[in-house]
Symmetry: C2
Subunit: 259 residues, 2 copies
């Protein structure tokens, strides 16, 4: 008897949860990946301002000084020298993708031998290949290869040139968090189609842009994004960047491991 009376209340609650969720499932992006590839390394958005748009995300800092990892509202910088630092609020970024992380789905992962296998497992559980997802994975890894870049000096070279001298870290056995986004194919030009991962170890000592991994066990929390907000910089570097060129090949060279 009490159950019958409770049912309408339960329905009403789940409806209002769904509405609140949709309104907040927003990704904020500052600048474009093509501008970064072209060498627009100096943005004018501060970490403090980025924090208004999200508590979770990734990107880089001005002069491509290290990899940005934003977890629970804290901005970390995985540096080219292998160290990880917490970033002061006034630090600027030329490219960042952040969200107020609100996972609606959790999946368990085990025995994942490669990054491609991880992405295939995630793909199998995602219903909409044309949507954006934010993904946070707490895991134990038997292998983790990351990279980070030293701060550049002007005149800036294109990113595909710069990454030829990137620092590569083979972390071996490590536990920590992957911060990632999956973006649909139609983002080519302004973001990275498919998956993009940054890593931070649980002891906060190492991390960076992920090139390869082996995962023994982990939990992925997944948030579906319904709205993407792209802020277009008015910096000299952004305006001057050649964004007409197809930079798909350069992006692949920059994002993936070099054979």
């Amino acid at each position: 008897m009490p159950l019958r009376f409770l049912r309408p209340l339960v329905l009403a609650l789940s409806f209002s949860t769904s509405v609140a969720y949709a309104a907040d499932a927003r990704l904020f992006q500052y600048s474009t990946i093509d501008a970064l590839l072209a060498g627009a390394y100096d943005g004018n958005i501060s970490v403090a301002e980025l924090a208004r748009h999200g508590d979770f995300g990734l990107g880089t800092y001005n002069r491509v000084d290290g990899e940005m990892i934003l977890i629970d509202g804290v901005f970390y910088k995985a540096k080219g020298n292998g160290k990880v630092e917490i970033v002061p609020p006034q630090e600027l970024s030329p490219l960042a993708i952040v969200t107020h992380f609100q996972p609606t789905k959790e999946i368990s992962l085990a025995g994942v031998a490669t990054l491609a296998e991880l992405e295939a497992q995630l793909d199998a559980s995602l219903s909409n290949k044309n949507a954006f997802y934010a993904i946070r994975i707490q895991g134990n890894f038997t292998g983790m290869t990351t990279r980070a870049i030293d701060p550049q000096v002007k005149p800036y070279k294109p990113l595909a040139e710069v990454t030829k001298t990137q620092s590569i870290f083979k972390l071996g056995s490590t536990s920590g968090q992957l911060i990632g986004f999956r973006s649909p194919a139609f983002v080519k030009g302004f973001n990275v189609p498919g998956y993009h991962w940054h890593y931070l170890s649980s002891d906060l000592s190492s991390g960076g842009h992920v090139l390869a991994l082996q995962l023994t066990a982990g939990k992925a929390k997944i948030a579906t994004i319904s709205t993407v907000e792209l802020q277009v910089p008015d910096t000299e570097g952004f305006i001057a960047a050649d964004q007409f060129k197809d930079r798909a090949q350069e992006l692949h060279a920059v994002e993936k491991i070099r054979e």
Copy 2:
């Protein structure tokens, strides 16, 4: 003496104006051009909801039933039968691009022989090729060629097939308004790179997607957009749409005049 005391106040005022402008110079887009090209013709956003995001813009209505022209908060539909109607608030759209139009620049135009010439004249006055602009032109035209599409029935064919049977209107001498956006190259996949124009005559009797024009005299009002908000539909059609394919050729066939 009074002038010297006034200066700090003037500076403060211009600073606050600039901040207010930047915060509002936002373009809202529902769905992607690639989804529309693939045949995702049924959206779930109403005209009433679009009105919350802008008073100026363009797009289409469900079943690609006519061309959307949004001017001063009024949604017009230029239909495949050549008529123009005002659209009720509950009508749905599969693709729309709208903004609260706040022009910051005005330029005069005269003796423009082709659409390409118009776009070259505008390009010459725009400082940032990597930015978005909303453009409203009130003008007198000696020629204006528009098109509109009749409502489609399921199963929907791709847009490049559908436009083979579009209605083309050669309006001859006409005065009215062009509603347009200029988007940077990096939007390929989700919007139309370069210019995209819809037209509505001053007597509200004719209009549509612009294929060609000759302009004798006009005024262009231009608004710079700093933020683009892309809302990703969760409709069946959007999820199913093949947005992996490069649709640049299809887009050209659909947007431009067929020789």
